[in-house]
Every structure is written in C-alpha cells, then in structure tokens.
Amino acid sequence: MTVTTGSDTTPTPFGTDGAGGLPDLRLAFDAAEPDWLSQLRSRAVDVVAERGFPTLKDEDWRYTRITPLLDLAFEPAASRPVSSPSPALIDELCGTSGGSRLLFVNGRFMPELSQLPEPAPGVRITNLASALSERRPVVQPLLEASFGARRHAFWASNVASAQDGLLIELSPDAVVEEPVRVVHYCDPAGTPVVAALRSMIVLGARSRVAVEETFIGSEGSVYLTNSITDVQLGPEAALEHFKVQLEPEAAFHLASMDVRQERGSRFVTNTASIGASIGRQELVVHLEGEGAEATVNGLYLPRGDQHHDCPVRVEHVAPGCTSRQLFKGVLDGHGQGVFNGHIVVHHGADGTDASQTNKNLLLSDRAEADTRPRLEIFADDVKCTHGSAVGQLEDDAVFYLQARGISKEEARSLLTYAFVNEVVDLVPDPSVGERLGRLVGDRLRGGSAGSGQ
C-alpha cells in the first residue's frame, strides 16, 4: 500500500536556529537551573534537531499534517506577559467543591489562583517546578525516557522547554478522596507562544487518586500546547483520569500520556477533544504487571476546519491483563477525525483480553473520518477483538422522531447525543460524567469550543 504523502516529507530541524517555526529552545534556558537539568535540555535540543518533526510519512502521523503549526513563528511562553482567567471561569471549570485545584497559565503554576490541601502523610500534590530538585530521583529518569527511539521530536522539544506541570506522588496505601482538578489556561497576548507542560503522576502500591484536567485559552488566540504526562502505577494502584480539551479553535494542542502499570493496577481515562485547530491526544499504556487493567475511552468532535487525532497504543507485556478502548467521533463541517488505535500483545502475554472499538458519525459531506484499529499479536492464548465503523444517522430513526412531533434538527441532535452518550456513560465519577455530558451537549447544539475570556 502506498503511503499518501503531502509536500511536507522532509524532516524539519526546528528548534536550533529560531528562524521561524518553533522558538529557539535554548532561549528559554534558565541559567539558575541545576546542571543535570541544563544538560538534559541541551541534549533534548540536539535530539529535536536530529529527528526532525514528524511528517505524513511517519505511520503514526499519516493523517495529521502539522505544517500549519510549523509555519507559524512561535515565541517561548515564558517570555510573554502573563494574564489570568477570571475567578468566575475558574469556578466554572473546577467547580466550587473542595479538594486540590491547580491552575497553570502559559505553562506556569499560579499559586495565588490554586488551592492546595494541607499536606497529608504520603500525599504529594504540587507543581513540578517547586519539587524539581527534591524529587530529582523521580523526575530525571522520566525526562530521560523522553529520548526513547519510539518517541517523536515533540517529546524532546517538551524536555527542552517545559518549566512546570502537575506532580502527584502517593506513598503506598495513600488515598486521595477528592479529585485533583487541574486547569491549563493560555493567553498568548497577541504573539503565538508555546506552552510546554510536563506532568508526572506516580502512585505507590494500593494508592488511588482521580485527576481532572481542562485545557483552555483566551478566545481566538493562537498558541501551541505541548503537554506530556508520565504515569506510573504501582501494584494495585488506581488512577481515574479525565481530560477535556477546550482550546480556542485557532490554537494547537499536542499532548502525550505515557502510562506504565504494575501488577493488578487499574487505569481509567476519558478524554474529550473539542477545541483546537489541530488537536492530538496520544496515549500509550504499558501493561507490565500481571492482571493490570486499562480502560481508555475518548470522544472527538471536530467541526469547521478542525482536525482531531487520537493515537492509542496499548502494550500487553505481562500475562493476564485486560484492556478496553472505546473511541467515538462526531465529524461536522470540514472537520477531520483520526483514530489510530494499536494493541500489541507481546510474546508470553498469555491470557490477554483486549478490545478496541471506534465509531464515527459523519454529519457533513465535507467531513472526513480516518480510522486504523490495529492489532499486533505475538502470543497465542489471547482474546483480542477490534471493530470500527463509519456512517451517518439513520434516516428511519430521524423520521421516527419527526413523526412524534420533534423537529428534524432536534431529532438529529438527539440521536447524535445518544451516539456519544455511550462514552459519557462510561465515566466512573458521576459529577465528571455530568460535566462531560453538559460540554458535549453544548457543543452538539452549536456552542463555541474555547469559551475563555
């Protein structure tokens, strides 16, 4: 099969000269940083130059053309003045209930807008920058792993430029009852900026926590969010993760989440891609301990000229693990939705139970759905299924509702909502599920994406 290619097939060595495209990464270096970090950052700049940014020729980026992003002249976010979202918006995004709340603006932690709990034994919930030196044994190996052969240049670019992010560390048996709510807000104040974020969630044996992330920015602004989250789950630890991407429709959002799970651990994530011009949410889950479970669900709702890409790779390394993937896309206008699911069952991972489902609803004759549910299996005692479907609303179903006095438009929006509701229903926390349902409902009724200031 020939790989469709566009014009952008040569690697682009951005990041070294600062002449257009992404900013000169070295500019953002802070002389006051510890040596080990400066060295890592220098190395990262070299790795970016060496690898170049992905092109349509890379199988994992086959349908996502990032040239519009590389064509813009970005500045490092740190060099820009910082404004902050209104308290009302923060309350809207985080709710007013208790629990930890962390607010980042242009990739920097804002203590005055955040709310951190009294430190409980075995619980560390903070921003990465403040714990960098103290937590070096945890942070450094994770940063170094960003240069792995399978990782694209945005990982290294993140190491070179990220200043801050979320850090959660739980000791064995520590339990955080209230979900940790994190808001990433960006206001580039006129010039396109890069907001790089590095977050780490490291859970000891049997500990558990829920994390809710929102990405949003000032209306109509142009910026790039480059967010990377590392997750490590100890034996029988549990993480419930929820993320909603509401960036303004001219912004770019590239996020990667890398999850490593030990024996009997449980990971659940639900992501909703709503905003951004190009939004890419990459998830890689390594099931490394026997009996680990991962549930990876997502929604993407591109419209206008939006492009949403959801690459998911689940690596079944250990025997007896379970993974579930359900992704649904509703594509309107010229919107393009890409699902790039991949299950790899390693040699010896017997008793694997993996499934992968992707369904797409095309609402316009200009929209496009690309789906690649891939299975790669090197063990024989496995149960793996995958399925994908692309279609439109059933005329009969619309007619049925119309016959009962519901307008055609309302009928269509009702049926579309029903289509995505399957994913909404799978959100474990009822309040989070309710919030997602509200966001999706607004969106499908034509509400704006980035509802920032």
Partner: protein, 481 residues
C-alpha cells in the same frame, strides 16, 4: 492439547512437496539490469517501438525510486544487479500440438498433477502453461476463438492485438505505482492476456500455471484481463515452484479492467517454495494486483489462497469507479516456519452506491508472521457506498504472530464502513466438544481450521476449491491429522 502441540509442530515443520527442478536448456540474457538489457529483452521478443519506449520510461522512473520501509516483513536488501531478467526455454521447434511440447516440461507438469493432456481431455479448463517466462502451450484456443475470446500469452498479444494492449496496459497499475510495478513494467518478459468481447460469457474457466524454473531468474509476469460491456470471465492462477536455496524475487503485475455490467472473477492458489525451517531460501512474492471497475454495475472479485512463498507482500485491490460497481476480496493466508506475509486489499470507492466486501482469514503457525493490511477509501463522490470487512486470525503456536492493520478513510457521510476482526487460537472448548462426539483430536483440529476458511473456499471455482482444500489439508490436515 499435547496431541495438538505435536500436530502443530509437524505443521510448522512441514516439508515443501514440490521441490524438484526440471533440466531445460535456458536462453538467458546477462545478469544485471540497465537500458541495454531492456533493449535486448524487447528485441528478443521482437516488440514494436512503443513497447520498448514504455519499458524504458518505466526503467528511468524505477532508478529514481527507493524501497519502502513501512511493510511488516523483513528481508535482506535485494541486489537487482544479481538477477537474470530474461530466460526462455529454448523451443526445439514450433509447436503445433500438445504432443510436441518438450517431454521434460510435460513430465514436470505431470509431477505437479496438472497433466495438460488430462486437463484438455477431462476438465474443460484451458491451460496457458507458463514455464519461466515464455508461454509454451495453449489449449482450447479454438473453443475460445469461436466465442470471440482472446486468450494468449502477453507476447502474442503485443504482436497480434497491439491496439488493445496499448489501450489498457498500465491503465490500472501505472508504472509509477510503486517500485516493483516500475521494475516489472521495465523488464516483464511474458504473461497472459485475455479480452472478452461485449456480451460474451467466457465458455470455460481460464487458467494459467506459473512456474519459476531457471536458477536465479526473477519472474516478472504481466497479466492483463479486459472484460468488455456485459462480459463475464473467471480466471484461475495457480503456482508451485521448485525448491531452491537462493531467494528469488517475483514481482508480477496483474491488471483487470471491467467495463459496464462486466464481471471478472480472479482466483489464485499460491504455493511457491516457502524456504526451509530456518527461513533460508524461498520466494519473495511482491506482486501488484489491481482491478478497475470502470463501468457501471461491473464487478471484480479476488479470491486468494496463499500458502507458499518466504514472503508474501501484496494487496489485490479494486478501484470502484463505475456507479453501483462491486468489489470483493476473499483471502486465506497461511504462514508457517519462518514465512512472512503482509497482505490484504485496497478498495477505493469513487462511484455512487459502490459496494465492497472483504473477508480475510490468516493462519499463523511455527514462527510465521501474518499481517493483514487493508485500505478502504470512500471518496467525496462515493455517495451511498458500503463496505464490510471481516478479518479473522488463527494462532497455532506460541511463537507466531498475527497482525491486523486496517486503514479506513471516509469522506462522504452516506458511506458506510464496518470493520470487524478477531484473533484467537483453536479453543479448548471447541476441541472438547468435538472429542465428546467421538471425533479424534487431530481430525477436529483440521475440521476447525477448514471451517475457519470455509467462507473463502466457497468463493473458489470448483477446480480450485478442491486444490485449495487439498493444499490446506496437506499443510494442515496432512501433518495435523
């Protein structure tokens, strides 16, 4: 389970049954490839200028290409200068009848169980037997001629029907399509040509047996089948190759063109030398096969049973251009020992209400690696298009691999695409159920495998269904049961 394991071991280490070499004098051009070699091939075949020009254009494009890296098969780089691009068995004299065919060649066919004489007398199948690159015997020509069907070697077609060849050659697989298509277009030596005129239903199944014979001769076949308006043709392609240690490249091109209301059914049983248990030797089967449903309501159906070759890398596809046209792909691919396969199909929907069906069954044993890779593309014009894909994999050992890489690209809201896939090993419960009913374990295993492939086998023409089942039986039941 111990029984099954030992059966599987046997299966994984099955010996290639058709490993013999027939000594026939070969007339070969020097090793290597440049423009002079192409001119020499063209001159030997007494080709018109336009044919030579086309070959040279292809060659000049080929030298600019690099080999792709996305495929899920591994092999050592191919040294294209170490291949002999043309070799023809020296004809002792012009052949008038079957009796005059080289006795050694006939003996070889007999060994394969494809006795031409038998076929002519009993089976009603016209066989255009190809040994190496030149067609040496064609049967049933007269009956076909009476119906107006042209079925001949590609060389003959270039001489006798240049207008048809010029019109359709490269119209489905242009020489720019991929590196192996470019190579084939430059150096192809022979192949089959078939033209079924308007409204004619071809009176018999057409069949070609391919053989790779002379040592180190890469075989570059070119097949072109055109079914004119309302015509019907069913074409059978079967392959066995003598055992050999050195890897051999086979880069064929098959083009099918179906005009309005025409139907082409193309069936393949491929059983080339797969290499030994350690993966030494075996054929590289890098073939470009594509059909074009050019007219409304036309239909092209591919059925393949792939059990041979060290590496199988091909995607027989259909371009569904005519409104209401239909594309089908039915495949069984077996990889044992160190065999690798990266195969599937491409269905490109252009016309309105076009429909395609894909049924793929992959069986992996030993250290075999079996990849299904399939593209379903619905263009903006493909209003009301439909696709259904069913992809199943069966794993028979702990060391094999089964991979599924579908690509689905949809640009029209009324298009409907469904893909389903499953991967499993033979279930303990299934075996237990059979044994409870007094069916021995080995028989149960082969029953389950045969049942697994049934959907594909039933698409094969009678003659091939028998051979395919026999092949799988030899490969599976023979060692399993």
């Amino acid at each position: 389970m111990t029984q099954v394991s030992s059966d599987v071991r046997e299966l994984a280490s099955r010996e290639y049954q058709y490993g013999f070499e027939t000594v026939v004098e070969s007339d070969a051009v020097p090793r290597g490839l440049d423009e002079d070699v192409i001119r020499l091939i063209s001159a030997k075949k007494n080709e018109p200028d336009w044919m030579l020009e086309w070959r040279l254009r292809s060659y000049r494009h080929w030298v600019t290409l690099e080999e792709p890296t996305w495929q899920n098969v591994k092999y050592d780089p191919i040294d294209y200068q170490d291949v002999i691009y043309y070799s023809a068995p020296k004809p002792k004299k012009k052949l008038a009848s079957m009796d005059e065919v080289d006795p050694e060649l006939r003996a070889m066919f007999d060994k394969l169980g494809i006795s031409l004489a038998e076929q002519e007398r009993l089976s009603g199948v016209a066989v255009d037997a190809i040994v190496d690159s030149v067609s040496v015997a064609t049967t049933f020509k007269k009956r076909l001629a009476d119906a107006g069907v042209i079925f001949c070697s590609f060389s003959e077609a270039v001489q006798n029907h240049p207008e048809l060849v010029q019109k359709y050659l490269g119209s489905v697989v242009p020489y720019r399509d991929n590196i192996f298509a470019a190579l084939n277009s430059a150096v192809f030596t022979d192949g089959s040509f078939c033209y079924v005129p308007k409204g004619v239903r071809c009176p018999m199944e057409l069949s070609t047996y391919f053989r790779i014979n002379a040592a180190d001769t890469g075989q570059f076949e070119r097949t072109l089948i055109v079914a004119d308006e309302g015509a019907y043709v069913s074409y059978l392609e079967g392959c066995t190759a003598p055992k050999r240690d050195k890897n051999q490249l086979h880069a064929a091109v098959v083009e099918l063109v179906a005009l309005e209301d025409a139907t082409i059914k193309y069936s393949t049983v491929q059983n080339w030398y797969p290499g030994d248990a350690e993966g030494r030797g075996g054929i590289y089967n890098f073939v470009t096969k594509r059909g074009k449903c050019a007219g409304a309501r036309s239909k092209i159906s591919w059925t393949q049973v792939e059990t041979g070759s060290a590496i199988t890398w091909k995607y027989p596809g259909v371009v569904l251009q005519g409104d209401d046209s239909v594309g089908e792909f039915y495949s069984v691919a077996l990889t044992a020992n160190r065999q690798q396969a990266d195969t599937g199909t491409k269905m490109v929907h252009i016309g309105k209400n076009t429909r395609s069906t894909i049924v793929s069954k992959g069986i992996s044993a030993g250290h075999g690696q079996n990849t299904y890779r399939g593209l379903v593309k619905m263009l903006r014009s493909a209003k009301g298009a439909r696709n259904h894909t069913q992809c199943d994999s069966l794993l028979l050992s702990r060391d094999c691999g089964a991979h599924t890489f579908p690509y689905i690209e949809v640009k029209h809201p009324t298009a409907r695409v469904e893909h389903e896939a499953s991967t499993s090993k033979i279930g303990e419960e299934q075996l237990f159920y059979c044994r409870q009913r007094g069916i021995p374990e080995e028989e149960a295993t082969s029953m389950i495998v045969n049942g697994f492939c049934r959907e594909v086998f039933k698409e094969l023409p009678m003659e091939f269904a028998v051979e395919a089942q026999k092949l799988l039986s030899v490969s599976l039941e023979g060692s399993v049961g």
